[in-house]
Amino acid sequence: MKVSLFVTCLSEMFYQNVAKDVVEVLERLGCDIDFPKGQICCGQPAYNSGYREDAQKAAKQMISSFENSEFIVTPSGSCAAMFKEYPELFKEDKEWHERAITVADKTYEFTQFIVNVLKVEDLGAAYSARATYHTSCHMMRLLKETEAPFKLLANVKGLELLPLANNYDCCGFGGTFAVKMAPISEQMVDEKVRHVEESTATLLIAADNGCMMNIKGRIDRKGKAIEVKHIAQILNSRVEGSV
């Protein structure tokens, strides 16, 4: 199966290891991965801030880069949701609207792709930890993907997954919201960190680098002994000898 990796700008700039894990996991599942070189950023920072035209520039770049792909897979529910928003972004431009639909229709978040397209739930992964999982808002509410990450994590050997109180509440990232509304964002991420602590987990798993950057940034600042990892990093952890 031919898969184009939409790595996301955050992964490319800050989390290359996550990107590598995504590639390795998908390859192990038999995907032939390509990396469209024209890709940059989905445009969400501009779009969510009200700068529609600047977001359109970013979106056109992405559409041109990905429109010939068979499947587009990205390790971010939020960036995948932005691709799905492209038809709305170009609702007044017939040509780009149609091209946007082509791209939106074949876009999948990483775990969603594995579970719903590849129909695989057990990756033979192993990771020993007491963990909890952060359900990111855009994956849950815009992509409406609530099960895939849990199905995959349930099959990770050695991983104990603990419930996270108020998991439905946003972590306070929200892109530019985190700096535009800094005092409110701070309270939101504080409450999230508090709930993670109360879960007694020592590892927080997330499927979105934006949320991760926010929550990890606060956890580290407070000097808490809680690790934060992207779900691809967990799923690419192996028991020796397994396929």
């Binding site: 800050f14 290359q16 590598k20 940059i40 970013a58 306070g172």
Partner: protein, 478 residues
């Protein structure tokens, strides 16, 4: 003024709110409680069947009604008038209050009792009635508490006194109304009730809002739990009900659906204690109905949304389901919004009704987590409307530096070569800031981030290189 709460600028109000530990505790526990109640009255209630189907029905009813608003308003007005009621279409808040003042003067009214109504808060009706010499009595328990506490303002459209706890209410009653009991809710309610009983019987005019008007019969429907609305509409000889021009349904069949959506979404009740439906029955010998019944239908900015991308904001049935799940409201409470309409729907409605000058910052007070859109029983795409507001706002009011930054973003995000340069150059550029693999104090806009959180150190900027090598069989080491 009437819609507006407080004089401070937005961030001043937010600061005040964030310092109010009690209020924040009250908000988060109220949200958690209401969430549980709503779930048990919706998705978990077997009698409901598929809650999503109810939401779709609600959306369809609201859309149909708004798309045919002129027809249904006409029908409502005709049927209400046919039975002896008086209908007044108010273009502005001032028109509405002037009309009601005239009625009060003509009736030589001294005492006015009121059921809970946000639209009367919106138009500042209490002050207007006081101007013409009326004593106004709020009879909804929460509104009564706010009124005797020196006219405190509502912090929630369904539970206006959500920001107060029982101890604070006890103290208010003691200080303002010579209460001698404890903070026990039953005692507090009994006290308010005893205070209000006489007033109900003496009132010259009863004022209510309107949850829904029914066009086919010219009726208005009130959804309450305390029974005060029945008292307000039974004793006085004159009744005035005020409704936003969008608050109607075609027939009783749709009313049934909407009441289900409203009570289950607002307070997690299958049905509220009272659903009071009133149709004018004006006859000279009428003893259990008002002899005069006025219906004021208010525009006050609503029609500006008609035919625009904001039309569906008028589908709102004021259940506050979006407020109850909003993580921003959770921390800043209602007053920080500076509008009697708070939370996500407040951030959408307030700029429509009151303009961007006053309320333009509210649409930015959202992380766009979409919990609001998910909760809305009539499927208003609230988070998308917040983005539409932002688009309008930045065109007019954004700082030049921000506009420039976004322009740069647009250029950077459409030029692969520039982006590659940036990714490659970043590690070197940021190196002086990095310590232990993270940045704890950044310059410029990054400062707002690093004031409370660490920022990740950029990676080595070589993913593309790694990928090429990897594809050539260069292994997995980067």
């Amino acid at each position: 003024m009437a819609m507006k709460i407080g004089d401070k600028p937005f961030f001043g109000r937010v600061d005040d709110a964030l310092k109010d530990d009690f209020m924040r505790q009250a908000m988060s526990s109220a949200q958690d409680r209401l969430r549980g109640k709503k779930i048990s009255a919706t998705v978990e209630d077997e009698l409901v069947g598929d809650w999503e189907e109810w939401r779709s029905a609600g959306e369809e009813i609201r859309r149909h009604t708004l798309e045919n608003l002129d027809f249904y308003l006409d029908q409502l007005s005709e049927n209400f008038s046919k039975r002896g009621g008086h209908v007044y279409f108010a273009a502005t808040a001032e028109d509405a209050t002037r009309y009601i003042q005239e009625v009060a003067k003509k009736k030589n009214a001294k005492k006015v009792t009121k059921a809970k109504s946000m639209v009367t808060e919106e138009i500042g009706l209490n002050e207007a009635l006081e101007e013409v010499g009326c004593e106004v009595y709020e009879t909804d328990l929460a509104e009564y508490i706010l009124q005797i506490d020196d006219h405190d303002r509502p912090s929630h459209i369904v539970v206006p006194s959500l920001h107060k706890n029982k101890e604070q209410i006890r103290d208010t009653f003691r200080d303002k109304a010579n209460y001698t009991g404890t903070e026990e809710p039953k005692q507090l309610a009994a006290f308010a009730r005893s205070q209000l009983r006489e007033t109900f019987m003496q009132a010259d005019i009863g004022v209510t809002g309107c949850n829904f008007a029914v066009a086919e019969s010219g009726s208005i429907s009130l959804v309450t739990n305390e029974g005060n609305a029945n008292m307000v509409t039974t004793f006085p000889e004159t009744q005035i009900s005020i409704m936003g021009m969008e608050r109607l349904v075609p027939t009783w069949e749709e009313l049934d659906v909407m009441i289900n959506l409203l009570s289950r979404s607002a307070v997690g009740q299958k049905i509220t204690t009272y659903v009071t439906n009133l149709t004018p029955q004006v006859t000279e010998d009428s003893i259990d109905a008002p002899k005069e019944f006025h219906l004021v239908i208010l525009d006050a900015g609503r029609s500006k949304a008609l035919g625009t991308e904001f039309q569906s904001a008028l589908h709102c049935i004021r259940c506050a389901a979006c407020v109850n799940v909003c993580p921003v409201y959770r921390h800043i409470g209602g007053h920080a919004y500076g509008s009697i309409y708070q939370g996500p729907i407040g951030a959408v409605l307030s700029p429509i009704l009151g303009g961007y000058e006053e309320y333009g910052e509210l649409p930015f007070a959202s992380s766009l987590c979409a919990a609001c859109s998910e909760a809305c029983p009539v499927k208003i795409p609230l988070h998308e409307q917040l983005i539409r507001h932002r688009e309008i706002y930045v065109k007019e009011k954004a700082k030049t530096t921000e506009k420039l930054a976004m322009k740069t973003f647009g250029i950077g995000a459409s030029s692969p070569s520039l982006f590659r340069l940036a990714v490659k150059g970043m590690p070197t550029m940021m190196k002086p800031l990095v310590k232990d693999d993270s940045i704890s104090s950044g310059p410029g806009p990054m400062k707002l981030w690093t004031a409370v959180r660490d920022f990740p150190a950029p990676g080595n900027g070589n993913f593309r290189h790694w990928f090429d090598n990897h594809k050539k069989g260069g292994g997995t080491d980067g």
